[in-house]
C-alpha cells in the first residue's frame, strides 16, 4: 500500500522513497552454552519507515527488554539483523562494504547515547572527537575551517569552543557532555540522528532543555530523529510519530498526539498512567513483571501476563496488526472487530 519507486542504478534495483525503511527485521539471540540454550527474539518482525519529504521525529517508546536498543543498534549498523533488511536512502545497510560507502553512511546517520560519560573515552579530551569527526568524515581539510565548523555546532547547543577545548569528560556535567555529544553528531549535517535514551541519565529538571534542542535542530537543519525512550512525557513534546514496543513487537503506532491523548493498547495506557506527574496521584496499584525470559517465550500476546483487559484468546494466539480508521496501528485482540478498516502487516507514515 505504500508508493514505491524502483530505480535501476548500476544494475542494482534500488527502492528510493524513504529516508529509512525497516523491512520485517528480526533479531534472535542465543543465550546459554552449547549444551542448553534459549532463543530470545529481541526484535520480532518490525516494520517502520521514515519518509524523505520532510524531517520527522519518530519516538520508539518501550521499557528495558522491549528490544528498542537492539533495534537502534541495527539501524546504526552496529548489529546485523537475523532476518529482514534495513534500507537507508534506498540502499541496504548491510550491503555496504567499501570504505567510501561507509563514510557516506556515517555522514548520513549519527548516534546519541544514553550515558554521556560513557559516550566519550575518559582518557581523551572531548574536543579531540570533534576534530576527528571533521577530518575523518571529510568535512574539511583546513584547520581554520574545522575550528569554525566546530564552533558553529557547539553554538547550536549553547556551548563554545574555548569552554570545551582540551577538557576531559570528567570535567563536564552530564548535561554539558550530552550537548557536546549532540554537537559532535551534528558536524557532518546528518539526515538522521538515532538518540537512545538521551535524557534518562540527566536530572529531571534539565531534560526539557535537550528535548527542546532536538525540536529546534529538526527545524533548522532538517534532521529527522529517532528518539528512543521509556518516558512518554518527553516523547509527547516533540514526536510526530510514536511506536510503542513491548518485548520486541510494536503494539501501537501512529501520530503521537493521537496515540498519547487517546491510547488504545492496554500497555500504552499503562505507560501513560505511570508517568510521575505532579497533578494527580496514583491510586491504582499495578503489577510488575516477573522473570523476563518467560514473557519472551510466550506463544500468545506477550503482554497477556500483565494485561488488565485480557481475554482468553490472548493467551493462545499472537494478536494481528490492525490498521484503524484514525490512521493508527494497534496490535491487540480488543480491536479485532468491525471497527477496523483493514488488517495490514505493513504500515507507513
Amino acid at each position: 500500500m505504500w508508493p514505491v519507486t524502483f530505480i535501476k542504478e548500476g544494475g542494482i534495483t534500488i527502492i528510493k522513497e524513504y529516508l529509512l525503511k525497516i523491512d520485517n527485521v528480526s533479531k534472535v539471540f542465543r543465550i546459554g552454552n552449547v549444551l542448553s540454550s534459549t532463543r530470545i527474539t529481541a526484535v520480532d518482525n518490525i516494520n517502520l519507515s521514515i519518509s524523505s519529504e520532510k524531517p520527522v521525529i519518530l519516538s520508539i517508546v518501550g521499557e528495558s527488554g522491549s528490544g528498542k536498543t537492539t533495534l537502534a543498534r541495527m539501524i546504526l549498523r552496529l548489529l546485523e539483523p537475523t532476518s529482514g533488511r534495513i534500507y537507508l536512502q534506498g540502499r541496504d545497510l548491510f550491503s555496504l562494504r567499501d570504505s567510501e560507502s561507509l563514510v557516506e553512511f556515517k555522514r548520513t546517520v549519527q548516534p546519541i547515547f544514553q550515558n554521556p560519560y560513557e559516550t566519550f573515552n575518559p582518557l581523551k579530551p572531548v574536543s579531540q572527537y570533534l576534530y576527528d569527526t571533521v577530518s575523518n568524515l571529510r568535512i574539511t581539510e583546513d584547520q581554520k575551517d574545522a575550528d569554525e565548523i566546530i564552533s558553529e555546532t557547539l553554538a547550536s547547543v549553547n556551548l563554545d569552543l574555548p569552554t570545551v577545548k582540551g577538557k576531559f569528560p570528567s570535567q563536564f556535567s552530564g548535561g554539558e557532555l550530552q550537548r557536546i555529544s549532540i554537537a559532535r553528531a551534528l558536524i557532518p549535517k546528518p539526515r538522521l540522528i538515532v538518540a537512545d535514551e538521551p535524557v534518562s541519565m540527566l536530572d529531571a529538571s534539565l531534560r526539557m532543555n535537550i528535548i527542546n534542542l532536538f525540536d529546534a535542530l529538526k527545524n533548522t537543519y532538517n534532521i529527522s530523529f529517532i528518539y528512543i525512550t521509556h518516558d512518554l512525557s518527553t516523547a509527547y513534546y516533540i514526536s510526530d510519530f510514536v511506536a510503542i514496543m513491548y518485548r520486541g513487537c510494536i503494539v501501537e503506532y501512529g501520530p503521537s498526539d493521537l496515540i498519547l491523548m487517546n491510547p488504545m493498547h492496554p500497555y500504552t495506557k499503562l505507560l501513560i498512567s505511570s508517568v510521575a506527574e505532579t497533578e494527580r496521584k496514583w491510586n491504582e496499584n499495578i503489577k510488575l513483571s516477573g522473570i523476563e525470559s518467560q514473557e519472551f517465550l510466550m506463544t500468545g500476546c506477550k503482554f497477556a501476563l500483565r494485561c488488565e483487559e485480557k481475554e482468553e484468546i490472548c493467551n493462545r494466539e499472537r494478536p494481528p496488526e490492525i490498521l484503524l480508521a484514525d490512521g493508527r496501528m494497534v496490535s491487540c485482540f480488543k480491536y479485532n472487530k468491525s471497527n477496523n478498516v483493514e488488517s495490514l502487516f505493513k504500515k507507513d507514515n
Binding site: Q110, T119, Y129, D132
Partner: protein
C-alpha cells in the same frame, strides 16, 4: 611537562607507601646494577683478578670469591644483568602479549579462536622441562640476549589472555561506537581508544614479569643451566654453592647475593601491587 612530572611524583610519593618504597628501592638497584659497574677496576667476571677467599676488609669491601673475583663488583654486575634479563623478557612478553590480546579480543570470530588456541597451548604446556631442554641445547653458552629470548617464550601468554578478556568488555562500551561514528579506522580504535585502558594493567604486569623472569633465570642458573660465564644473581648463587661457600665459612660470598635477591624481589613486588592498588582506586573515582 613539568606539571606531568610533578603529578607523577605526587602520585608516587603522596598516598601510596608501597609505590614510593618499592620505587625508591628499585632506583637504588638500578644505580647499583648499571652505574656502579662502570667504576670497576677490571672485568668483574674474570677469574683470579684478585686474591681468593678474602673476607670483607677496607680494600675489598665485600670480600672476594673462591674464583678470585671481587664480590662487590661481581654483585653489582650481576644485579645489572639480572635486571637486564628481566626487562627484556618483560618487554617482549608485554608487547607481544598485549598485541595478541588486543587483536583476539577486538576481532573475535575466527581470528580470536585461532589465537586463543595458540595462547592456551602456551599456558598449558609446562615451562620448566622445555626451558631445561632449551638451556641444555645451548650448552651453557647462550648470551644474555638468547637467554632472555628463551625465557620470553613463556611470559607472553598470560598477558595475552588477560588483555583479551579486558578488551572483550571494553569493546562493548559506547565510546567505541562514538569513535566508529567519528570515522576512526579500526587500527586507531584498537591502539588509540582501547590500549590506553589496558596500559595501566600492562605496567603492573610488566613489573611483575621482571620479577618472574629474574626468578626463572635464577632458578635455572642455580641448577647450572644458565650461562655460567656471565654474572647474574643466579650464576652467583650457583658458583657460591658449587664452591661450598657456606660450609667453608665464606658467608660474604653468598649472603649479599641472597639479600640482594630478596630486596630486589620485594621492591618489584611493592611496585607491582602499589600500582594495582593505585589504579583500582582511580577507577572507582
Amino acid at each position: 611537562m613539568k606539571k606531568k612530572i610533578d603529578q607523577f611524583l605526587y602520585v608516587l610519593y603522596h598516598n601510596n607507601l608501597k609505590l614510593s618504597l618499592g620505587f625508591t628501592l628499585l632506583l637504588f638497584f638500578i644505580v647499583i646494577g648499571f652505574i656502579i659497574p662502570s667504576f670497576a677496576p677490571s672485568d668483574p667476571v674474570k677469574w683470579n683478578s684478585v686474591p681468593r677467599d678474602l673476607p670483607p676488609s677496607r680494600e675489598y669491601i665485600l670480600g672476594t670469591t673462591s674464583l678470585g673475583q671481587s664480590v662487590l663488583w661481581f654483585l653489582s654486575k650481576a644485579i645489572g644483568n639480572s635486571l637486564l634479563i628481566g626487562s627484556i623478557v618483560a618487554s617482549f612478553g608485554t608487547i607481544v602479549g598485549v598485541s595478541i590480546g588486543l587483536l583476539a579480543g577486538f576481532y573475535g570470530s575466527l581470528l580470536d579462536k585461532i589465537l586463543v588456541l595458540f595462547i592456551d597451548t602456551f599456558i598449558a604446556v609446562p615451562s620448566l622441562p622445555i626451558l631445561i631442554l632449551f638451556a641444555s641445547f645451548f650448552k651453557g653458552k647462550a648470551s644474555i640476549l638468547v637467554l632472555s629470548g628463551i625465557l620470553s617464550i613463556f611470559n607472553w601468554s598470560w598477558p595475552a589472555r588477560q588483555v583479551r578478556s579486558m578488551v572483550l568488555s571494553i569493546r562493548e562500551r559506547n565510546f567505541i561506537d562514538t569513535a566508529y561514528f567519528s570515522g576512526e579506522k579500526t587500527g586507531w580504535i584498537i591502539f588509540g581508544e582501547i590500549l590506553p585502558h589496558i596500559f595501566p594493567w600492562a605496567a603492573a604486569n610488566f613489573t611483575n614479569t621482571v620479577l618472574v623472569a629474574i626468578g626463572m633465570e635464577t632458578g635455572l642458573a642455580v641448577v647450572g643451566l644458565s650461562n655460567l660465564e656471565q654474572a647474574t644473581l643466579g650464576t652467583m648463587l650457583f658458583w657460591s654453592l658449587n664452591y661450598q661457600a657456606m660450609l667453608r665459612g665464606l658467608w660474604w660470598w653468598i649472603t649479599p647475593c641472597v639479600i640482594a635477591i630478596i630486596l630486589l624481589f620485594i621492591s618489584l613486588f611493592l611496585i607491582s601491587t602499589g600500582l594495582s592498588e593505585y589504579l583500582s582506586s582511580r577507577r572507582s573515582l
